[in-house]
Subunit: 205 residues, 2 copies
């Protein structure tokens, strides 16, 4: 098959990401968010929040990673970030198998280079991967703040669990990490996030 | 308001693009595509089809334009690309008004720089804008090819109308333009696109 035919085949296979649903809703709460539009939202955030990345971060690479990072969910589905550890481990294995299937749809040299970008995001060792991952953690928090607690409320997530995720945001962007900490304080104050210890939230006020 | 608060305000406002429906469906025909997931699909195409852009094209800029280009549809809605000229002119004015409202949500220097990127896409004068626009024209054709004619069939679009759009694709990428021409030939051959002159298509075979 011609390289361009393989590339078009990959683009059409990728369309299926639009049918993968996440736990988060849209800000208007009309329906659940899908992983394709979520990926767009993250790429937009990379552009808008670029100044919060460490100096020298390659923004084009961040956007490329964000556009690719959830493609494996075509086979693996989306797993809620607060799922139990054994489930997370199974998910990681399923996602690697999905990457093994999806990237080779592309012509060989490109299959390897885009797979390397996906691996880089997963390994979270470079500034670009850390910043991209920080945005992936921040976006659902922003949605929860304008949907009366959103997935926190729906899944009985407590502030200590959310705070544990803030380390990942700080690691990619100290200023966005500080912003996330302030949001958690505000969410506790507004009663849309349960305090550590698992007492139920006081409810929106 | 702090710059970061304004940036977050913009990111949350942008969420509404997920509710703007286009004429195209998903490849599985389960529902209509929205403009946010369409924008993601285009950014992915930019990455996958990058070698079909003229040498020296700044891929990061192409992706940034594609992520931003449809935001104005939050106010203006999506207009089918084959709508009549007076409607297209009204749409262009509504989209400019939307850009005037949306970009100033951002802190001033950034509002101007991202608005400039949006203007650049609209003016289609640079290699980046031409390539981005080519992808925006190519994507619905790819979907139509795997959905028995899709929007061509649904809106009685004829091959001469589609061919007129191929000039825009060729202008951004000669190789993708040639690919689009081959697709049109194949669509005519398969009877999923009506021939010039407005005779109805022969129907899928």
């Amino acid at each position: 098959m011609e390289p361009l035919d393989r590339q078009v085949g990959f683009v059409l296979e990728a369309d299926r990401l639009k049918t993968v649903l996440r736990q988060s809703t849209l800000t208007d709460r009309s329906r659940r968010e899908n992983s394709a539009e979520h990926s767009w939202h993250l790429a937009l955030m990379a552009l808008v929040l670029a100044e919060h990345a460490p100096p020298g971060t390659d923004l084009g690479k961040v956007m490329a990673m964000l556009v690719l990072h959830d493609l494996v969910e075509i086979d693996a589905g989306d797993l809620f970030q607060y799922a139990a550890q054994p489930q997370q481990a199974r998910q990681a294995a399923t996602e690697r198998a999905a990457a093994d299937r999806l990237f080779p749809i592309l012509p060989p040299p490109q299959a390897a280079s885009l797979r390397a970008l996906w691996d880089e995001f997963e390994e979270r060792a470079t500034a670009e991967a850390k910043f991209a991952r920080a945005l992936d953690r921040l976006q659902p928090m922003l949605i929860n703040m304008v949907t009366e607690g959103g997935t926190w409320a729906a899944h009985d997530v407590t502030a200590d669990q959310v705070l544990a995720r803030v380390a990942l945001i700080e690691d990619g962007s100290p200023s966005l990490g500080a912003y996330a900490r302030d949001m958690i304080d505000s969410a506790l104050d507004r009663g849309i996030l349960a305090p550590p210890g698992g007492e139920p939230p006081t409810g929106p006020r």
